[in-house]
């Protein structure tokens, strides 16, 4: 009887064992190279959705864009709600800590990197060369995700090793580590990765976008510049920011050495990038393209961003391609003005979303045609910038439609103004018309071509970020489509490194020819004179470049202009501690309801954002603090 029962039970156990042996587990991901490669790509998958309205926390959360609010029919303004002051601790927007609301869970990303690093040694058919490279890439990614979190939240827990899933509650309650510790950790992790990273990508058709040594060095430069900047370097506001054990999370004393390190890192990165072929982008017209030098300058500025894999782009995000989404949001509904010869896309072309709207103060930020701020330019009609209506003459024809009446603000500006912005009367080169005597232009007043379409398809300010639109896009043969040439989002451009280097040098040693050299390299490409000469000739404070503070201001303004719309401005304003100046400025636009120029060119305030000191660091979710009481919330939240 007993035997019978035990036999029966054994049979029962077997009957209930319904799971076959080959159910996939995480070990399967490391059984052979082709599987492990997928895991490598998974680690890459966590890179941020740069340039995406609903994924890039630096893109639409600041003051570069206004858009329809609270809700348009075409895209959920998502992270724009941060710009509107809707950030909360209950359910933070762009939550990269826990994941959610447009943020990826970067601690998950870090765990995945560690899983890869722990297991990649088990892959039997991986050559040691390749293994080293993969490990280096994932180490870099691990460093990058830490950097990303640091940039948002300040002090963060460092995930050096994964805790086991069964870890005790005490173990899992990690603490935030001081900023300096985090910076040093990230920097040394990048250093570890550097030797095994490729200097450049040779298999361009399958590997462009993978991490190279210049990329890693550039990120390290970004990191160290950030760490040396006022927000993180001896910031008195955070002197008392401690965790529950009294650990000081921000070093209270300023360290000039941080700028030195940052400068060195910038220089190393620039050298490595140039050695690998990086250079500032200059537009080369295609055969048959008819173009003057003015247009060439603006095309050089536009192409540095939108020309796919151009040599200025050190790190192109192959997984954050700027495609239809961001480009159609940036595209104005343009017209050729001559439908009889040039089939113009109909004004009802809803494929063109046209909804990202740079506010007026961003337009004001650009230099005058003399390469100095309009408020400093002795020759510029600054007082009349909002009132003085002018009709464009033939001299302006590559920037403003000949004979078109528009406002002073749009006149006499630097080439980057005309390259980066679309506006009422502005010329819009490319997109099927490759001859600068015959181009598109914008007509944005009420009832005109580029004005509001439907309930929500329009720029709320009357400006468009032309910079983000590839000149190779077109409207299709049926004139109602919008075909987009996607480009990898430029995570880092060489010009950025130049300016960061200039900034570091100035902080370390003040103005010097070296500083002028790097900043002027960027200005030259933008069609401007050097800093010293421009200020001397046209500025109301001609000696500005000669003082450390003056030059700092100039370098910062140069960075804001050069990197505009690339999702970097917010981070720069934060690290400079200048966000409370800029991000409290009223967001303004033109009076879109008006059909005629005098009425249209009245400044209308759209809203006033509110930036308070707490916004310098992003909030941790309330839940994160509740679940792990060892974490402290960022000040003010």
């Amino acid at each position: 009887m007993c035997i019978g029962v035990s036999v029966l039970l054994a049979g029962c156990k077997k009957y209930l064992d319904v799971t076959p042996d080959d159910i996939g587990t995480i070990d399967y991901a490391f059984r052979m190279r082709s599987e492990a490669e997928k895991y490598l790509f998974t680690c890459y998958n966590n890179l941020p959705g740069s340039g995406q309205v609903w994924g890039d926390p630096g893109f639409i959360t600041g003051d570069e864009f206004a858009t329809i609010y609270p809700q348009g029919n075409y895209f959920d303004p998502g992270l724009y709600r941060i710009a509107r002051g809707e950030q909360t601790v209950v359910s933070p927007l762009a939550n990269f800590w826990d994941g959610g609301n447009g943020g990826k869970g970067y601690y998950q990303a870090l765990r995945e990197c560690n899983i890869f690093l722990d297991n990649v040694g088990n892959v039997p058919d991986l050559t040691s060369m390749e293994k080293k490279r993969w490990i280096a890439e994932v180490k870099f990614l691990k460093a990058y995700y830490h950097y990303f979190l640091l940039r948002m939240y300040g002090p963060i827990p460092i995930i050096r090793k994964n805790l086991p899933v069964s870890a005790s509650i005490d173990e899992v309650r990690v603490t935030r580590e001081p900023v300096d510790t985090v910076v040093n950790y990230i920097s040394s992790l990048i250093d570890e990765a550097l030797p095994d990273l490729p200097v450049q990508i040779f298999n361009e058709s399958s590997e462009l976008g993978r991490v190279t040594r210049p990329i890693a060095m550039a990120v390290k430069a970004q990191l160290l510049v950030m760490a040396a900047s006022p927000l993180f370097n001896g910031n008195p506001d955070y002197a008392n920011f401690k965790d529950h054990n009294g650990v000081v999370l921000f070093s209270a004393s300023y360290s000039a050495d941080k700028w030195k390190k940052a400068g060195d890192a910038c220089k190393t990165a620039i050298d490595a990038a140039r050695a690998a072929g990086a250079k500032l982008y200059y537009y080369q017209p295609a055969s048959g393209e008819s173009m003057t030098d003015s247009t060439k300058v603006t095309m050089s500025i536009r192409g540095a961003v939108t020309d796919k894999w151009n040599p200025e782009v050190i790190w192109g995000a192959s997984n954050a391609m700027a495609g239809y989404d961001v480009q159609s949001l940036s595209q104005a509904r343009v017209t050729s003005g001559d439908p009889s010869t040039v089939p113009t896309p109909p004004s009802t072309n809803e494929s063109i979303r046209s909804m990202l709207a740079p506010p007026i103060h961003i337009a004001e930020m650009f230099y005058s045609s003399h390469g100095v701020p309009i408020e400093e330019d002795k020759t510029y009609d600054y007082a009349g910038r909002f009132t003085n209506l002018r009709t464009a003459t033939d001299d302006y024809r590559f920037y403003i439609l000949n004979g078109y009446q528009t406002i002073q603000l749009n006149f006499d500006r630097e080439p980057r103004y005309y390259a980066d912005l679309g506006f009422d009367g502005g010329i819009w080169y490319g997109e099927g018309l490759y001859d600068d005597t015959r181009t598109w232009h914008v007509e944005a007043k009420h009832g005109q071509f580029g004005a509001q379409l439907g309930a929500g398809l329009y720029s709320v300010t009357g400006y468009w970020p032309k910079k983000l639109v590839s000149y190779k896009n077109d409207f299709g043969s049926n004139s109602s489509g919008y075909n987009v040439r996607a480009y990898p989002w430029p995570m880092i451009r060489l010009s950025e490194l130049y300016l960061l280097y200039a900034e570091s040098l100035n902080e370390v040693g003040g103005p010097s020819p070296d500083v002028y050299f790097w900043i002027d390299s960027v200005r030259t490409r933008a069609g401007l004179q050097g800093v010293v000469q421009s200020w001397a000739d046209f500025s109301s404070s001609p000696a500005k470049p000669s003082t450390k503070e003056g030059l700092r201001e100039i370098i910062q303004r140069e960075q804001m202009i050069e990197k505009v719309f690339e999702g970097k401005r917010v981070w720069d304003l934060l690290r400079w501690k200048k966000a409370d100046t800029w991000l409290n400025m009223p967001i303004r636009g033109w009076d879109l309801e008006q059909p005629d120029a005098p009425s249209y060119y009245r400044v209308k305030q759209i809203y006033t954002p509110v930036f308070t000191p707490k916004n310098y660091l992003w909030p941790l979710s309330e839940n994160a603090i509740v679940v792990n009481p060892k974490l402290v919330q960022n000040p003010g939240w």
Partner: protein, 1159 residues
């Protein structure tokens, strides 16, 4: 004189024969010998003397006894029968003993003259006129007892006011006596002319035997576990859903129904409330003829086919189901054939249903006005969807095509829908085989109007057939074979969305933006298709036109379940007395598939309109949408739409060895061992290999019982069960229980005449629940890894040409996860009072341990990509349930029975893994399961100043007129830490019901009231929000088109507006988009879910015997019934039982007429 004397002797003899041959055993009292002497006493007092001397009681009517006669008796040691013979014969009085009662009756002339010993009887069955009196066991005369001849239901009568009956029958007939509240009794006439009968009171025949786990029948008095049996008759309501009858009718069951949507109107029910908060289901195990089936299968069961319906509630009752029994068990058996003539039963019903409460929707002009208000109040620059001139023209009643006002409901729906149901069953059989064959046919015609321009009928036609055949075969005296076949088949033909989908769409369609369809304008004279109206925003954003959705195509679906079951029962008394073996093998197959075809509607709107000439032209909106796969794509021809399919198969086998024997007349010993094995295979929703694997479980369980002298009862049960879901260390579990009962009223010391039954019983034990976690987390001991997750990959290269999918983990393996354990105790008292009133009261307590829950202590810095789960929760539940009934017969024509049930169940969190909150109110511990946390909505904000001065609310934009919440923890802002437990749980803690049935002559009436209380619900601020583009995430139907939620009249009448700044208005500031600030769970939208309703009323008329005789049928009844007729509740906007979403398909009020007859 001599002749008379002789006659008298004959009569005496025949009378004696009656006495001796009739029920000799019962009449033992007549053999008692007595001695007594009476002299010249009056007849009545003489009887009294005899009664006291002999210890008997006489029962008679006054007209029998010759009052004035004086009699003398002198008997010494004579048999009582002899004494009576000599005493009564001279007065033509017949006598009969029943127990200690002696019933006296008058001899009829036939009695007296037919007595010539059996001459006629030898030739043929003689016709006799039988008379008799019927009393109950207390000696009371019973009027109104039905007396019929067995096998000839057309021959019968009822007893009169004196409890007497007269009936002409054949001398070998068998009389059947029956009456509500009494046990039926059969008495062979055996040539007698006087048949006196005593009826034993019995609440219900069903209740004497209780069907317990695995279908074992136990005597009610021997049951120590908690089992509620329900009379299938009580579940007969005019609904094709059995589960909707549960609420208030079954003690111990908390039940409520949230929607009246046909096909999805299953009530939610919990045995003894919600006792777990695990992610799995707290649903009871449902077994129909031992086979585990779904709630829907239970819902489709026909009450006519139900033999027994038992709810197993406590550990002792469910222990045999081991790891599956913790949530209670519903055990149903279907009818089987009985030996005898074929019986044919037919029931036909026609019912009409309409919403219990008609939703009041604002008219189109108000809709447009308030839509405009909603737009402008949130954004003064908004582009108006309904221009002022459009509103003005609409008010003025200008061209109704150009300025449409659409009542989608009126256009698309009839006010009510009708259903027809027919049930037929046939039963009977001979000695070797018996059969029960039943069929039913339901037809639902749908509530949609039909547009004649369409060449197919777009209304719903749902045919549902059921067939059941239970055959019992007895090849030998000790063997029984049972073959059950069951099939249920649904065929649907109707619009693609079904009635419900269209109903919902009609509530999400603008009443003024466009006409449902347009008459062709001059340009469209030759157009073949219907010119549907729509409105376009953007290049491909259309609004919902439910009318187009209704007409554009149709769907057929077919659903069936077929079950074949084979049972072999062998009596093994030959081996040892009392032993039997039962085996069962069953398989069932389920299939569902649908196919649809549709054309792509052509959408138009007014292109131009010339006011002067009142001429309009149409513009074609979706001209560019030529993609047939696009929901807005147009095409004139019908095209197929891919449907869904769902198939499953399951196997079940069971073997039972049963031993039951009485020793020495008082030791009753029983033992049962059951082994079961079960497997289900189904088509997985996706190609997940884990879902594709067979679902299995198995177990051995047993019961040992002992009772002594029908007074003391003891029972031990165990279940030893295995579940495939757990790691091998945890696959099997042992679940023991004990129980005991004490029948106090069977004790010798129990003398109370009024309390005829008193029983105490109790049980304690352990049962399990392996239905934990969600379906995709089937094997907790395995991690779930996707090695080809396209969403987690990356691509590289100049053109992103080289891409690979990624790897993701959706579950971490945890081999420690096992079932929930429920430690349950139960204490009950059963009370019977005067044989009329019965009460069963039970209290219980259960502690559910090892509840699977999400680890709340794991911070996101751990980086887990999936939640981690463990058996760490613990809950406690307690409550009581009560059933009572009362039956009274006032006369032969009037009877009444009253019954009621009451269930109180409250589950509480005991251990709940949660963060260590600084504030106790955030902790779950001690709070009810399903308790909701929310903010205290104080009022609406007054103005911007008020806004600035108040604590910041962290839920997105808010303005004056939005809800202001209270800062509970005083930190100066409203965050999730300001949530407190609000209201009652969302599952009611109390369900009750009461009602009565009564009959007067051929009329009967029953009324049943049902209610529930201690429940809160929240008016869903998103689902009911006017104007917003709402789609139910659980049941998406918008398909990307823009919906506009209807405007409830109540919201139109009471909302904050700039003109009327009512800070306590029902609805906050209007908006055309969801306002997250107001959508938080708060007291603002909390409502009391209590209600009491007239759940059902039925009036029936049974045809009198005369007519039945003429029609040669056994029974014929016509009845009118209604459900959900009237509701008492403080909440007036919609039926409170629906809970939060008043725009969902409403619960139905059903009015029904039916007949049933049998022959």
């Amino acid at each position: 004189m001599k002749k008379i004397l002789l006659l008298l002797t004959v009569v005496a003899l025949s009378s004696l024969k009656t006495v001796s041959a009739g029920e000799a055993r019962k009449q033992g009292i007549l053999d008692m010998k007595i001695s007594l002497s009476i002299k010249d006493e009056k007849f009545k007092s003489a009887l009294k003397k005899i009664a006291s001397e002999a210890g008997v009681k006489f029962s008679y009517t006054r007209d029998i006894v010759p009052e004035k006669e004086k009699i003398s008796i002198d008997a010494s040691d004579e048999k009582l029968s002899e004494v009576f013979n000599s005493l009564f014969h001279p007065y033509h009085i017949a006598f009969e003993a029943i127990g200690k009662y002696i019933i006296l009756s008058k001899m009829t002339s036939e009695d007296i003259f037919s007595g010539e010993p059996g001459k006629a009887a030898l030739v043929m069955p003689m016709f006799l006129t039988v008379t008799g009196t019927v009393i109950d066991s207390t000696g009371k005369i019973l009027p109104g007892v039905s007396v019929i001849v067995e096998g000839k239901s057309n021959v019968g009568t009822t007893t009169d006011l004196n409890g007497r009956f007269v009936l002409d029958v054949q001398s070998d007939a068998v009389l059947v006596f029956s009456m509500v509240g009494y046990q039926e009794i059969k008495v062979p006439v055996n040539g007698r002319t006087v048949v006196n009968v005593g009826l034993k009171a019995s609440e219900n025949k069903m209740e004497d035997v209780v069907v317990t786990a695995y279908g074992k029948k136990q005597l009610k008095e021997a049951v120590v576990g908690s089992v509620t049996t329900v009379n299938a008759k009580d579940l007969k309501i005019p609904s094709s859903n059995l589960t909707t009858a549960f609420a208030g009718r079954i003690a111990g069951v908390i039940a409520f129904q949230r929607t009246g949507e046909p096909g999805a109107d299953n009530a939610t029910f919990f045995i003894r409330g919600v006792t777990t908060f695990g992610n799995g289901s707290g649903n009871p195990l449902i077994l129909i003829d031992n086979i585990e089936l779904s709630t829907t299968d239970l819902a489709r069961l026909q009450p006519d086919d139900i033999e027994s319906f038992s709810i197993l509630k406590d550990a002792s009752a469910t222990a045999l189901y081991g790891a599956r029994g913790a949530n209670g068990v519903i055990f149903v058996t279907t009818k089987q054939g009985k030996e005898g003539k074929a019986k044919f039963y037919v029931r036909v019903e026609n019912s009409i249903s309409q919403p219990t409460k008609k939703l009041k929707i604002a008219d189109p002009v108000t809709f447009m006005k308030l839509y405009t208000e909603a737009q402008l109040t949130r954004d003064p620059l908004a582009n108006l969807l309904y221009s002022r001139s459009k509103i003005d023209h609409t008010i003025a009643g200008d061209n109704p095509v150009v300025y449409p006002t659409v009542d989608w409901f009126k256009l698309m729906f009839k006010d009510q829908t009708s259903n027809q149901r027919a049930n037929i069953n046939l039963s009977g059989g001979g000695k070797v085989a018996q059969y029960y064959v039943a069929g039913s046919y339901n037809i639902d015609h749908g509530i949609l109007n039909v547009d004649p321009r369409n060449n197919f009928n777009s209304n719903v036609r749902l045919n549902s057939y059921q067939l059941r055949s239970n055959i019992n075969i007895h090849p030998t005296a000790t063997t029984e074979l049972v073959i059950r076949m069951y099939g249920i088949f649904d065929d649907y033909h109707g619009p693609i969305d079904g009635g419900t989908g269209l109903f919902q769409k009609a509530l999400r369609s603008s009443p003024a933006l466009f006409a449902p369809f347009y008459q062709p304008d001059s340009a469209n004279i030759a157009t073949h298709h219907i010119l549907f109206g729509n409105y376009k925003i953007g290049d491909n954003s259309f609004y919902m036109n439910p009318y187009a959705d209704m007409l554009k195509g149709y769907k057929d679906y077919s659903q069936s379940r077929m079950l074949a079951q084979f049972e072999l029962n062998q009596n093994l008394s030959g081996l040892t007395k009392g032993l039997s073996l039962r085996t069962l093998f069953s398989t069932n197959r389920y299939s569902y598939f649908d196919v649809s075809r549709a054309y792509g509607p052509y959408y138009y709107n007014i292109g131009t309109y010339d006011k002067a000439s009142n001429v309009y032209t149409l513009s074609w909106l979706n001209e560019k949408n030529t993609d047939p796969n696009d929901v807005n794509g147009h095409h004139e021809d019908l095209q197929g739409i891919s449907g869904s399919r769902n198939l499953s198969t399951s196997l079940y086998a069971q073997g039972t060895l049963d031993y039951s024997r009485m020793f020495a007349g008082m030791h009753n010993v029983g033992a049962t061992v059951v082994a079961t094995i079960q497997q289900t295979l189904l088509t997985p929703d996706n190609l997940d290999v884990k879902a594709s694997l067979p679902h299995r479980n198995m177990g051995i369980s047993g019961r040992a019982s002992y009772s002594y002298d029908r007074r003391y009862f003891g029972e031990f049960n165990f279940g030893y069960n295995g579940s495939e879901r757990f790691y091998k260390d945890h696959k099997f579990g042992f679940f023991p229980t004990i129980g005991a009962g004490w029948m106090i009223s069977n004790e010798k010391f129990w003398h109370s005449a009024s309390i005829n039954k008193l029983k105490l019983r109790g049980s304690y034990g352990l049962v399990g629940n392996d239905a934990i976690g969600s379906a995709i987390d089937r094997f907790f001991f395995l991690s779930s890894v996707s090695l080809n997750d396209a969403g987690r990959g990356a691509g590289f290269g100049y053109d992103n040409g080289y891409s690979r999918p990624g790897v993701s983990i959706s579950r971490y393996s945890n081999p420690d996860i096992t079932w929930e354990r429920s430690y349950q105790s139960n204490l009950a008292m059963e009370l019977g009072f005067l044989n009329k009133f019965n009460l069963v009261a039970e209290v219980y307590h259960s502690r559910r341990k090892d509840i699977l829950m999400k680890r709340a202590s794991i911070p996101s810095t751990m980086g887990l990509s999936a939640d981690s789960w463990a058996n760490v929760g613990e809950a406690r539940s307690q409550g009581f349930d009560l059933t009572m009934d009362f039956t009274q017969n006032f006369s032969r024509d009037l009877w009444i029975s009253v019954r009621g049930s009451f269930t109180y169940a409250r589950g509480e969190y005991v251990k709940y893994e949660e963060p260590q909150y600084a504030n106790r109110y955030l902790s779950h511990v001690g709070q009810a399961i399903d308790q909701q946390w929310g903010y205290l909505g104080e009022r609406l904000f007054v103005d911007d100043k008020d806004l600035v001065n108040a604590p910041k609310q962290n839920f997105g934009l808010y303005q004056a007129g939005d809800i202001k919440y209270r800062d509970i923890n005083g930190d100066g802002q409203i965050t999730s830490l300001d949530q407190v437990p609000v209201g009652y749980p969302t599952t009611p803690e109390i369900t009750y019901g009461f009602g009565f049935s009564m009959g007067y002559k051929q009329l009967d009436l029953s009324v049943f009231m049902q209610g529930l209380t201690r429940e809160s619900f929240w008016m869903d601020p998103v689902a009911t929000a006017p104007f917003i583009n709402y789609d139910d995430p659980g049941y998406p139907i918008n398909q990307g088109r823009i919906g506009q939620n209807a405007l409830l009249q109540a919201y139109a009448g009471s909302h904050w507006s700039e003109d009327n700044q009512d800070i306590y208005a029902l609805w906050p500031r209007l908006s055309t988009t969801p306002i997250n600030n107001n959508n938080q769970r708060s007291t603002w939208f909390m409502r009391d879910g209590s209600f009491l309703r007239v759940k059902s009323v039925e009036v029936g008329y049974t045809l009198s015997k005369k007519i039945l005789d003429r029609w040669k049928i056994a029974n014929f009844r016509i009845y009118f019934s209604g459900t959900n007729l009237f509701t008492f509740s403080a909440f007036k906007l919609w039926d409170p039982e629906m809970g939060g979403n008043g725009l969902a398909y409403p619960i139905q009020r059903v009015v029904n007429v039916g007949i049933h007859f049998s022959f």
